[in-house]
C-alpha cells in the first residue's frame, strides 16, 4: 500500500501543480492564437449584386499574400525600426546609468530618486501619451507659452522627423523606471567583498561600475534589453493616441496600429488576423535570434 502511494505521488503531483498554468496558457494564449489562424484563412464575400449581404468564405492564404504584398506593412516596420533605434538604446542606457548611480548614493536619497524615476512606469501608456501630447501641441503647450513669451517661434515636436523622438520620449519616460529597478536589484544582490577587494586594488568608482558591476549584472541587462526590444516591436498606444493630434502619424504608422485599424476601424478582422500572425512570427524570430546572439556573446563559455 505504502509502496503504491509513493509510486503514484511523483506522477500525479507535478501534473496537479502544472494544471492551472496549462489551463491558463491554453485558454489565454493558444486558443486565441489558433482562433486567429482560423480567422486569417477566411474572408467576406458579397454574392448578390447591389448592396447584398456578405458571407464568410474560406480564402486560404489570400490574406497573407495581401498582407505581405502591402507596402504599408513594410513601411510600418521601417518606422517601427526607426522608433526602436531611438527608444531601445536610450531606455537601456539611462536605466543602466541611473541604476549604477543609485547604487553609489546614500540610502535616503536613493529611495526618493528610485521612486521618482519609477513613478512614470505606473502611468498607463495612453494617459502618458495624452499628457505628453498636451505638452507637444504648440497651441496648448505650457512650454510653447514660454517660447512665445520670449518671442521665439513655438516648436512642434510632432511635426516632421522629430515625431519619432516625440513618440519615443513617451515610452522612454515610462520605461526607464521599470528597467532601472530590475538592474538596481541585481546590483544590490552582488557581494560587497568584491567591491572592497577592487577598491583595495586601486579601482576608481567609474572603473568599478564599468569593469566589475556591469559584467556581473549582464544577465539582468540582457533580460531587460530583450523586454525593451519586444516592447518596441509592439509599440502601439503612444503613436495611436498621438495620431489624433497630428498629421504626421498615419493609421498604419507601426505594425500594431495597422492591425488595430484593419480589425477595429475598417472592419477587416480577417486581414488583420493574418497581419497579426505575421507580426507574431517576426517578433518571435527577432527576439529568439537576439537572445541567441546575446547569449553566445555574453556567456560564450556557459552555453
Amino acid at each position: 500500500m505504502q509502496k503504491k502511494r509513493s509510486r503514484l505521488r511523483p506522477r500525479v503531483a507535478p501534473w496537479l501543480f502544472l494544471t492551472p498554468a496549462i489551463v491558463l496558457a491554453a485558454g489565454l494564449m493558444f486558443a486565441p492564437l489558433v482562433y486567429t489562424v482560423v480567422l486569417s484563412l477566411q474572408g467576406r464575400k458579397v454574392a448578390a449584386s447591389g448592396i447584398g449581404i456578405a458571407a464568410d468564405v474560406f480564402v486560404g492564404l489570400d490574406n497573407y499574400v495581401a498582407a505581405l504584398t502591402n507596402p504599408a506593412l513594410l513601411g510600418s516596420f521601417a518606422r517601427m525600426l526607426g522608433y526602436a533605434l531611438i527608444a531601445v538604446p536610450v531606455t537601456m542606457g539611462l536605466a543602466l546609468v541611473f541604476a549604477l548611480l543609485l547604487d553609489n548614493l546614500s540610502t535616503r536619497f536613493t529611495r526618493f530618486s528610485r521612486i521618482s524615476i519609477f513613478v512614470p512606469y505606473a502611468v498607463p501608456g495612453v494617459i502618458a501619451a495624452l499628457m505628453w501630447g498636451f505638452m507637444y501641441l504648440p497651441g496648448v503647450s505650457p512650454v510653447g507659452e514660454l517660447f512665445s513669451l520670449w518671442g521665439w517661434p513655438v516648436p512642434n515636436p510632432l511635426d516632421g522627423g522629430s515625431v519619432f523622438l516625440a513618440v519615443a520620449n513617451v515610452s522612454i519616460w515610462g520605461g526607464i523606471g521599470f528597467n532601472m529597478v530590475i538592474l538596481y536589484t541585481s546590483l544590490r544582490g552582488l557581494p560587497q567583498e568584491i567591491y572592497d577587494s577592487a577598491r583595495l586594488d586601486g579601482c576608481s568608482e567609474l572603473q568599478l561600475a564599468l569593469r566589475i558591476k556591469l559584467p556581473l549584472i549582464l544577465p539582468g541587462v540582457i533580460l531587460t534589453g530583450v523586454f525593451t526590444v519586444i516592447g518596441a516591436l509592439q509599440v502601439f498606444s503612444e503613436p495611436n493616441m498621438m495620431m489624433s493630434l497630428t498629421n504626421s502619424i498615419t493609421s498604419d504608422w507601426v505594425p500594431m496600429m495597422l492591425v488595430y485599424r484593419d480589425a477595429f476601424v475598417t472592419n477587416d478582422l480577417y486581414g488583420a488576423s493574418a497581419t497579426a500572425i505575421i507580426i507574431t512570427a517576426v517578433t518571435m524570430i527577432a527576439s529568439l535570434g537576439l537572445l541567441r546572439v546575446l547569449r553566445d556573446r555574453a556567456f560564450g563559455s556557459e552555453s
Binding site: 486565441p32 492564437l33 482562433y35 464575400k45 495581401a66 516632421g160 530583450v226 472592419n267 477587416d268
Partner: protein, 435 residues
C-alpha cells in the same frame, strides 16, 4: 517568452472577443409572459443624455425595459457590432450614422424592418428616408438629419468689416483678410481627420462618392467635382491662410475658444458643442448656409445624422422595432430629446413641436430665432447622397492620405486618388461589381 509574444500579438483578436463577451454578459434575457418578467432590450448609443429619453420609455412600458450602453462611439460602431456579431452577442438595437448603415446591412447586422416601419414614409424627411432605405427595404429608423451650416464669429467678422461669405470666392477672400490682419489668426482649419466634412463639401460641389445602378457600383471620390474642392483647399493651405489643425483635439478646442479660428464648417448639431468647447464665446456666433460655388445658387450638403437599427441578433424583434419607432417618432420621445439633448428630428411632425423653437441655440447670437427654419430650408436644398459599403475604410484612408499630403506638402488631388483606389480595391475584394 514565446507564449508572451504570441499572446500580445494576437491581442487585437483577443480584445475583440473580450469586448464581444462583455457585451454578451448582459445580453437580453427572454421575457416570460406567464410570470410577468419584463423583456429586456440592449441598446447601444452614443447620443448625449440618451438615458433620460430611454427613461421615459421604461416608465411607460413596464413589460419592455431598455438598457442603454453608451460606451460605443459613432466612429467605431461598425467594428464593435461586427465583433459582437462574430461572438454571437449582438445588442437588440444600436445607433448608427447614415454613412455606416450600408456596411451594417452588408455585414448582416441591420435587420430588415420594412414590415413595421414601411408605412411611415410620409412622416419622415425624404433625405433621411432615402438614406435608410435600400432596394425598397427599410434598415433603420431615422433619428435626425444634419443640414450643414457655416458658423462664424460675428465679432471678428465685424471688426474687419467682413460680411458672412455667400460664395467660396468670398470665403477665400475672408480667409486672406483675417490672416493678413493678424498672422496668428485663421478663418478656418482644413482638418485631415474630418473626411465626413470633405465628403459633404464635395457632395455640395456635385461629386458622388458612391453611386449604384443595376447592382453595379461607381466610385467618384476622385472625380472632377471632388478634385475641384481638394484643389480649392490646397490653395488656401498653401497660401497659409487656413490652418491644418485636426478637429476635436485639445489644440482645436483652444483655437475655437480663443478666436484663433473664426469659423467652423459644421451642421445643425454644432451649437451645443461650440458652447461646450468655447463657453466664453456664447452669443458671438452667427450661422449661415454653406458658401456656394456659383453666386445665387442654393445647394447644400448634409453632415452627419443618425438612425436606430434593430439588429439581426435580437430575440425580440417586435419589441425592438416598436421601441426604435417610438424613440424617433413619438411626441414623448421627441419632447424628451428637445429637453435633454440637441436634435433636428427626421420626423417631420417633430420639427413642429413648440419646444424646438424655444431652444434657440445659446452659442449663436441672441435673437437668432430662425435657426431651425433655415435648417428646414437647407434640408430641402440638400443634395441626395448614396453611401457605399466601406465608408469607414474610405474615411480612414482619407485621414492618412490628407495627413501625409499636408505634412509632405504634396498634392491633395493625388491624395483623393489614393483614397479612391483604396475604396475600389476594398469593394472589389468584398465581391462588389465596381465599374
Amino acid at each position: 517568452m514565446n507564449s508572451r509574444v504570441s499572446r500580445i500579438a494576437a491581442g487585437a483578436v483577443v480584445s475583440a472577443l473580450a469586448i464581444a463577451s462583455l457585451a454578451g454578459c448582459t445580453s437580453s434575457e427572454p421575457g416570460d409572459p406567464t410570470t410577468g418578467e419584463p423583456v429586456v432590450l440592449q441598446y447601444w448609443s452614443w447620443a448625449p443624455n440618451i438615458d433620460k429619453i430611454v427613461d421615459v420609455w421604461n416608465e411607460s412600458h413596464p413589460d419592455v425595459q431598455v438598457e442603454v450602453n453608451t460606451s460605443v462611439g459613432a466612429a467605431d460602431i461598425v467594428a464593435k457590432l461586427s465583433a459582437a456579431k462574430e461572438a454571437g452577442s449582438l445588442p437588440d438595437l444600436s445607433n448608427t450614422t447614415y454613412e455606416n448603415l450600408p456596411n451594417l446591412v452588408v455585414n448582416g447586422i441591420a435587420a430588415d424592418i420594412t414590415e413595421a416601419f414601411g408605412g411611415y414614409e410620409d412622416e419622415i424627411a425624404p433625405a433621411a428616408w432615402d438614406l435608410t432605405t435600400f432596394d425598397g427595404k427599410n434598415y433603420a429608423v431615422p433619428q435626425g438629419t444634419g443640414p450643414q451650416f457655416l458658423f462664424y464669429r460675428t465679432d471678428i467678422f465685424e471688426s474687419l468689416g467682413l460680411e458672412a461669405p455667400t460664395t467660396w470666392d468670398e470665403y477665400a477672400a475672408a480667409a486672406r483678410t483675417i490672416h493678413t490682419a493678424d498672422s496668428s489668426k485663421y478663418l478656418a482649419t482644413f482638418p485631415a481627420n474630418d473626411a465626413q466634412l470633405f465628403a459633404a463639401l464635395s457632395a455640395q460641389a456635385g461629386a458622388q462618392w458612391w453611386s449604384q445602378e443595376d447592382g453595379v457600383w461607381s466610385v467618384g471620390i476622385a472625380d472632377a467635382d471632388a478634385t475641384k474642392v481638394a484643389d480649392y483647399w490646397q490653395g488656401l493651405v498653401d497660401e497659409g491662410v487656413v490652418t491644418t489643425l485636426k478637429t476635436w483635439t485639445p489644440e482645436w478646442q483652444a483655437a475655437l475658444a480663443d478666436g484663433t479660428i473664426a469659423s467652423w464648417l459644421s451642421a445643425v448639431w454644432a451649437p451645443p458643442l461650440i458652447l461646450q468647447n468655447a463657453p466664453e464665446t456664447a452669443g458671438l456666433w452667427g450661422a449661415v448656409r454653406l458658401p456656394q460655388w456659383q453666386a445665387g445658387d442654393s445647394v447644400s450638403a448634409a453632415l452627419g445624422g443618425s438612425g436606430t437599427v434593430v439588429t439581426t441578433g435580437t430575440e425580440h424583434a417586435e419589441e425592438a422595432q416598436e421601441f426604435a419607432i417610438w424613440l424617433n417618432n413619438s411626441t414623448d420621445a421627441l419632447n424628451a430629446y428637445i429637453e435633454n439633448a440637441s436634435i433636428w428630428p427626421a420626423n417631420l411632425a417633430g420639427r413642429e413641436l413648440p419646444g424646438i423653437k424655444d431652444t434657440a441655440p445659446a452659442a449663436l447670437a441672441p435673437g437668432f430665432e430662425d435657426f431651425y427654419d433655415v435648417a428646414a430650408e437647407i434640408d430641402d436644398e440638400t443634395v441626395p447622397v448614396t453611401w457605399g459599403p466601406d465608408v469607414a475604410l474610405a474615411y480612414s484612408a482619407f485621414g492618412d492620405a490628407f495627413g501625409t499630403a499636408i505634412t509632405q506638402k504634396s498634392s491633395f488631388g493625388d491624395a483623393l486618388t489614393t483614397v479612391q483606389d483604396a475604396v475600389v480595391a476594398d469593394m472589389t475584394k468584398l465581391g462588389f461589381t465596381v465599374e
